[in-house]
């Protein structure tokens, strides 16, 4: 497990520290775009940042209902908290309808969590996700928990979106999404995140901002 660099004024950074911090920011990157299980045989890499929470997840789907892999989360508060661990995801139920799809997912994992610079202790992670999607409408609810001796966080988000046009399989898909997110223990009780989602082929990108002006970036790829 790497040791993250505590946040400092940029003027105090040496070049290697700055590079390390940039690397960690890129590596530890988001939740509501999560695609916990893909198709059988797929690898999926997801990273991003929604306000005060950053994620990176890397999974191997060994069936269309199950995946396992690595998950790292960072809660950027007065003290930075980091979780890193192994996680297993399940597609509990999927409704494949003629013009819609709905899913229930859950996941459990174990690893280490702690305040940056103060060591870490054994930790557990769990999540539940429900979503419903047509070619024009998208809704999702996510709940995620991280618990250890020093870290106790819950991330709850709900999102709804519309596609301004019906994109075909080979075309660029565009979605306008509004997400509400609450992280337990954070100063702001509720973050509102307007964002734009694009995907084409195996690439997925979301860009937006919280109403407080923090950037929102989510990226996913299947291969």
């Amino acid at each position: 497990m790497h040791r993250p660099v505590p946040l400092q004024p940029s003027s105090q950074f040496t070049t290697p520290e700055r590079l390390k911090t940039i690397s960690i920011s890129i590596i530890l990157a988001a939740t509501a775009a999560a695609h916990p299980v893909a198709f059988e045989g797929a690898y999926q890499l997801m990273f991003g940042s929604t306000g005060d929470v950053q994620n990176i997840e890397f999974y191997r789907s060994y069936s269309a209902q199950t995946a396992w892999g690595l998950h790292a989360m960072r809660f950027e508060d007065d003290e930075d908290e980091i979780f890193t661990g192994l996680q297993h995801n399940w597609l509990l139920k999927r409704w494949n309808l003629p013009s819609a799809q709905a899913n229930l997912y859950a996941g459990l994992g174990a690893g280490l969590a702690g305040d940056v610079g103060n060591g870490s202790s054994p930790a557990g992670i769990g999540f539940f996700r429900a979503d419903y999607e047509t070619r024009r409408v998208y809704t999702a609810f996510d709940a995620k928990w991280v618990e250890s001796a020093d870290v106790s966080r819950g991330v709850f988000s709900a999102a709804a979106g519309i596609a301004p046009y019906k994109a075909e399989f080979d075309q660029l898909n565009t979605w306008l999404i509004l997400q509400a997110e609450h992280v337990t223990g954070m100063e702001d009780k509720l973050d509102i995140l307007p964002k734009v989602r694009f995907f084409k082929g195996p690439y997925f990108l979301e860009l937006g901002s919280t109403l407080r002006g923090k950037p929102v970036v989510n990226f996913m790829i299947h291969f």
């Binding site: 695609h35 299980v37 893909a38 198709f39 059988e40 045989g41 797929a42 069936s63 269309a64 597609l91 999927r94 409704w95 494949n96 309808l97 003629p98 013009s99 819609a100 799809q101 999607e133 047509t134 070619r135 019906k166 994109a167 075909e168 399989f169 080979d170 075309q171 898909n173 995907f199 084409k200 082929g201 195996p202 997925f204 996913m220 299947h222």
Partner: protein, 107 residues
């Protein structure tokens, strides 16, 4: 002894020839749940690896997957439904159509 063997060989060859017709065929599968191209990438990934498939087209509007079989090769209905399920979707109907792949793709 040789004549029955030759007859058996010819009969066996005829059976295989029937299973793998010497022409390019198009297979149309109706699929439920295909609403997102990002989520349906598995369909492309699975069929592209199949040795009997030369071309794949996913049509979200018509809710179909079109496959073009290689000349002399064939993909079974079980393989098609299996690949669709491994991709996370529900196959509804598999049918071999008379149109060429491009004609079926154009609708």
């Amino acid at each position: 002894m040789k004549i029955p063997s030759i007859i058996s060989f010819l009969a066996l060859s005829a059976t295989f020839a029937q299973a793998a017709p010497d022409r390019v065929a198009t297979v149309k599968t109706t699929v439920n749940g295909m609403v997102c191209s990002f989520c349906a990438q598995g369909i492309l990934a699975h069929f592209k690896k199949h040795p009997a498939v030369s071309n794949v087209h996913v049509d979200l509007t018509r809710k179909i997957v079109l496959l073009e079989e290689r000349k002399g090769k064939s993909i079974t209905e079980e393989e098609i439904t299996g690949h669709i399920k491994k991709s996370g979707f529900e196959p509804v109907k598999v049918e071999r159509v008379k149109e060429t792949f491009e004609q079926a793709k154009a609708g």
